[in-house]
């Protein structure tokens, strides 16, 4: 089964995405087993404590932005946030970051779009189709086009940020590599030309990696889940 999987022409980013999903699945299974055997009267500790704090935080986050009428949406938001953050910082391992491949942000955008429309169907039932002929039936083509706007904007925001960071980092590596006087090293009957920049690069780049991968990833995750929650919250009608 797995021979064909590795022979097939799948791009590295999709492979990294699968690895990220595996990491999250293993974490989820461990936390699930811990939660199963946990005595509810005792204080949780370790991974379970972190997971409980996270669940509480995301439930409060959804309640603050979209109200209390969509219970369980905090789980969706937490899943998206954990995947997105780990995918952003996965570039630090040296493997390609999944977010720099257009298909991965596009899938996240489509998930957001499905959440928005499912919420609308849940709360307005058959009146859902009214949104396509609002305010006149003449607007049908425009409404059909503008339906895709949230997914497209979420996708391009994530993809653009990730690609911008990656491009800047690769430009910086290319520039720093050639800095300074070159000298040759002879060892094991081989000669290699080495620039001084080879030794400067590891001192400079970690700071920028911290900014472009960690900080940018954190900000983009926050913005993405805030936008998804606000867009879903817009579809909930006022309470009677």
């Amino acid at each position: 089964m797995f021979e064909n999987f590795f022979k097939a022409e799948i791009s590295g980013e999709v492979m990294s995405s699968v690895i990220v999903m595996m990491i999250i699945a293993v974490l989820a299974i461990i936390i699930g087993i811990q939660a199963h055997f946990q005595d509810p009267l005792k204080k949780p500790k370790g991974l379970l404590l972190i997971a409980e704090i996270g669940v509480k935080f995301f439930d409060g986050f959804v309640e603050g932005l979209a109200g209390t009428r969509i219970p369980g949406f905090g789980g969706v938001v937490m899943c998206l946030a954990v995947y997105l953050f780990i995918a952003f910082i996965f570039g630090l391992t040296g493997l390609p970051s999944p977010v720099t491949y257009m298909a991965v942000p596009l899938s996240l955008g489509l998930i957001a779009l499905i959440c928005i429309h499912a919420t609308s169907v849940k709360f307005t039932k058959w009146k859902y189709f009214k949104r396509y002929v609002d305010p006149f039936p003449v607007f049908l083509p425009i409404n059909l086009l503008s339906m895709w706007a949230p997914a497209l904007s979420l996708t391009l925001r994530l993809f653009g940020n990730a690609v911008a960071g990656m491009t800047l980092m690769s430009l910086l590596y290319a520039v720093l590599k050639g800095i300074g006087p070159a000298f040759t090293i002879e060892a094991l009957n081989k000669t290699a030309t080495v620039h001084l920049g080879y030794f400067i690069t590891p001192l400079v780049t970690p700071v920028l990696h911290a900014y472009f991968d960690l900080f940018s990833g954190l900000i983009q995750t926050t913005v993405f889940i805030s936008l998804v929650t606000i867009l879903v919250g817009q579809e909930i009608p006022e309470e009677e």
Partner: protein, 73 residues
């Protein structure tokens, strides 16, 4: 003339200019708000980061167009 595409990318990236200016405006107004009402610091910070990210979107689009012109087109 394939060299023209570098000029095209340079023109496309010009759209980041107003985005940068108005991100500064957002930060300035947030500082104003915090100095008037220091208790609202945490709320204002979250809103500022969200606003900055939304303002950045146009800049990101122009950056994407520039990258597409340079490496794909």
């Amino acid at each position: 003339m394939p060299e023209l595409k570098y000029i095209a990318a340079a023109i496309a990236i010009l759209a980041v200019m107003p985005s940068a200016i108005f991100e500064g405006v957002i930060a300035a107004h947030t500082v104003d708000g915090i100095s008037r009402n220091p208790e609202a610091y945490s709320k204002l910070r979250t809103t500022m980061i969200l606003g900055c990210a939304l303002t950045e979107t146009t800049a990101i689009y122009s950056l994407l167009v520039a990258i597409l012109i340079l490496f794909v087109g």
